[in-house]
Symmetry: C2
Subunit: 207 residues, 2 copies
């Protein structure tokens, strides 16, 4: 039985897990969720994830949402990109930071700027979310100066979590010329064997 | 050497850790951060936490930010409110959900509605954040129906994380009459020995 990932290509949170599974070479099956047309709100989908979140992952008896929990589960089970014991809390701290302060603003900002119908967009909200995105980009760029990976000497779940939304080309308030250390780090991830862009890895909504 | 927590009473993220330390009976020292007047942006504070986050925690050689990482560290070290092995990913999933989908919107919404000068508030942004808060309150309330705690039969870091902002009395877009299962669960937490309201537990900005 392979791991089943409920996803769509536009979801950076889904890409955190799909990217990990792909470069780690762990077999998985993709289930496209028609998120933009209510596919996460159907009774069928709610029976997998009552919160209506994408991604969701099913591995035999285990069903999870939240990409950070999936990454920890997969790393515990398969061992690829495992964290050194000494780095445990530092890696967790960055995964939480990503969910709390970074992807939580990049994701909604990109959604409103690109996928929400124009009449539902708010300049105030985009301005607010963009300012949070920029603060977090500054923190990440400063941290990555002189580092190849976020924590320690190898890639960890912190890298898979924090990088994910940054591979998308749609605008989300990031002027890439201002973040050279982030760009160098993204290139380290692109150089992983078999790495794929999210739109080449998962089925998505038409662009 | 006791644990040092850099905090201020208005910070729900600080309260996640302070509440845990207090009800677990673990000795700790409080350092007030004058957050509203730039206290998290000083060079001194940045030497403890370069991200400028509150809370930060120092325990001997270990310095952490992100309340979820602190809770995991403290539970690993002290054992109070430890998670059963079978519940590991489920507890992590809820801590991540809190950081990703709940506190990340409750905190900024409450800040803008109550602590930001009126001329800097945006009705559009408050409306946006409130709508995210309400979606998450619905998810949590539904989950808590028939449950005493979020995961399993005892309180875990999932409870300490998710409950924190909900003990504040300032408005943040929650009509408490609509969430009876949340209110019953908060009462379970209030009944813990030695439980204290955040404003009775930490030094804060004058209200």
């Amino acid at each position: 039985m392979t791991i089943e990932l409920y996803s769509f290509a536009q979801s950076g949170n889904a890409y955190k897990v799909a990217n990990y599974l792909n470069v780690a070479g762990i077999p998985w099956t993709e289930h496209f969720v028609d998120f933009f047309n209510g596919g996460a709100r159907t009774p069928e989908y709610r029976s997998i994830n009552p919160m209506g979140e994408v991604p969701a992952m099913v591995d035999g008896d285990v069903t999870l949402s939240q990409s950070g929990a999936m990454l920890e589960y997969l790393i515990d089970k398969h061992g690829h990109f495992a964290t050194a014991d000494a780095d445990k809390y530092e890696v967790l701290r960055w995964v939480l930071w990503d969910n709390h302060k970074f992807s939580s603003f990049v994701g909604p900002c990109r959604f409103m700027m690109n996928f929400l119908p124009e009449e539902k967009r708010s300049a105030d909200v985009i301005g607010y979310l963009s300012s949070r995105v920029k603060m977090s980009l500054d923190i990440l760029n400063t941290h990555l100066e002189g580092r190849k990976w976020i924590v320690g000497e190898t890639a960890t779940s912190a890298d898979f979590s924090c990088c994910s939304y940054l591979f998308y080309d749609e605008p989300f308030g990031m002027d890439r010329s201002k973040y050279p250390h982030i760009e160098a780090w993204l290139e380290n991830i692109r150089q992983m064997p078999n790495w794929k862009h999210p739109y080449d890895l998962m089925q998505g909504h038409p662009l």
